[in-house]
């Protein structure tokens, strides 16, 4: 049997499909009016919320820096935190721009490349955020205590304690990555936790890179088959 014979049978089946599929046009019309939510657009409100929260943090840190401008011990950690927050704002902005430009009626390779690039940006952002939080917890402590409670962390805790905890925070990062790679399959009970652990371990980024490579190969001209 040739492929052309298979195609003829496929087309014959197609005609029967056309007759069998019933579309309730009245219900369909109603559902269009109610603006059914697409599972593919879940990301936009999430990124907007992330952007708004991070902007609030950037503004608060800016105010803190301005009010402590002569005190390097407080300005330095606040600037470190602000740079990270601004990086997050930039990432959210780029993601929102890509999401608003997403047009599913564009050619498949173009749309899938955009989606994978977006996914890559999200993976990188999540990975860096999760990895930097332990490293930045001392600057967070110093700025948070002073900014929110008016408590001077340098007076409350010894320099040695702060230094040890800062180093501990840095040491936690490779441990976190190792645990994510080693124990993700056993510990993750939900897709959300699984995804977080994949992000920390870099698996999501690797998968996204592989998908982008696949798209590039697909677009490339193949050598003519013999």
């Amino acid at each position: 049997m040739t492929f052309e014979n298979l195609q003829e049978q496929w087309v014959a089946c197609d005609k029967k499909l056309d007759l069998s599929i019933r579309l309730n046009t009245a219900l369909l019309r109603e559902s269009l009016v109610s603006q059914a939510r697409s599972a593919l657009r879940w990301l936009s409100p999430f990124v907007v919320a992330e952007l708004v929260c991070t902007l609030v943090v950037v503004i608060a840190l800016g105010a803190f820096i301005a009010s402590h401008v002569r005190d390097v011990a407080f300005v330095a950690p606040a600037i470190v935190l602000d740079v990270c927050a601004i990086g997050l704002v930039a990432s959210c902005g780029r993601q929102l721009a890509m999401l608003s430009a997403l047009d599913f009626s564009a050619p498949v390779v173009d749309v899938q490349t955009s989606l994978e690039t977006l996914r890559r940006i999200r993976c990188r952002t999540t990975m860096w955020t999760l990895m930097l939080v332990p490293a930045l917890w001392i600057p967070l402590l110093v700025v948070g205590l002073e900014g929110v409670f008016g408590v001077n962390a340098y007076s409350t805790f010894s320099a040695g304690w702060l230094a040890v905890n800062a180093l501990f925070g840095l040491a936690v990062i490779p441990v976190m990555v190792w645990c994510s790679r080693r124990y993700a399959d056993r510990v993750a009970q939900s897709p959300f936790v699984q995804r977080l652990m994949d992000d920390i371990a870099g698996r999501s980024l690797t998968a996204s890179t592989a998908s982008l490579d696949q798209l590039v190969r697909f677009e490339r001209e193949e050598a003519l088959a013999d």
């Binding site: 069998s20 559902s31 088959a225």
Partner: protein
């Protein structure tokens, strides 16, 4: 009035090309629940984009682009297990009858369908378009690759499917 006319036009066009929804969903989803979710998402995206449909391409070409993009995204997405609250029956499409047609289609079509399900997401889209008898220019435009690239890829996929189809049919008959 404009809104109602758009709804009517959209629904009429969807009615005319409804089998595209089922065929694409059937190629990318193994079970009926996933097919239902995918069809719902596809119709939602079609409606979202309908305002930008300018008629330069055929509606079926435009619809295929969106359906394939949604299907591949759905297939890759971790969220494909999240169920929407509206069931497919309320949404207006009866999949059971279509599934019965596929089940009654005979060994050749069923095997071919199974083999297509084993292809990569992008090759799957190409072969569905080929079987639906789109022109090479048509589906090069849908996929966003050159006509030459389409020809060589289709040649490769056909050879592979024919080989695998013979092998599976031989296994079935022994």
């Amino acid at each position: 009035m404009t809104g109602i006319a758009d709804h009517d036009r959209f629904v009429a066009l969807l009615e005319e090309h409804k089998r595209i929804l089922y065929k694409v969903a059937n190629a990318y989803c193994r079970n009926r629940e996933d097919r239902s979710d995918l069809i719902q998402n596809t119709v939602t995206e079609l409606w979202r984009s309908f305002g930008h449909f300018d008629g330069r391409n055929r509606f079926s070409t435009w619809m295929y682009r969106i359906a394939v993009n949604v299907a591949i995204s759905f297939y890759r997405s971790e969220n494909r297990r999240i169920r929407e609250t509206v069931s497919i029956d309320e949404f207006g499409m009866d999949l059971a009858a279509a599934d019965r047609v596929m089940e009654a289609a005979g060994d050749d079509v069923r095997i071919l369908h199974r083999l297509i399900g084993q292809l990569g997401e992008l090759d799957r889209a190409l072969i569905i378009l080929y079987l639906d008898q789109h022109s090479r220019d048509g589906f090069a435009g849908i996929m966003g690759i050159s006509t030459t690239n389409v020809a060589t890829k289709i040649g490769r996929i056909k050879q592979q499917l024919q080989r695998d189809h013979h092998a599976q049919l031989a296994t079935l008959r022994t």
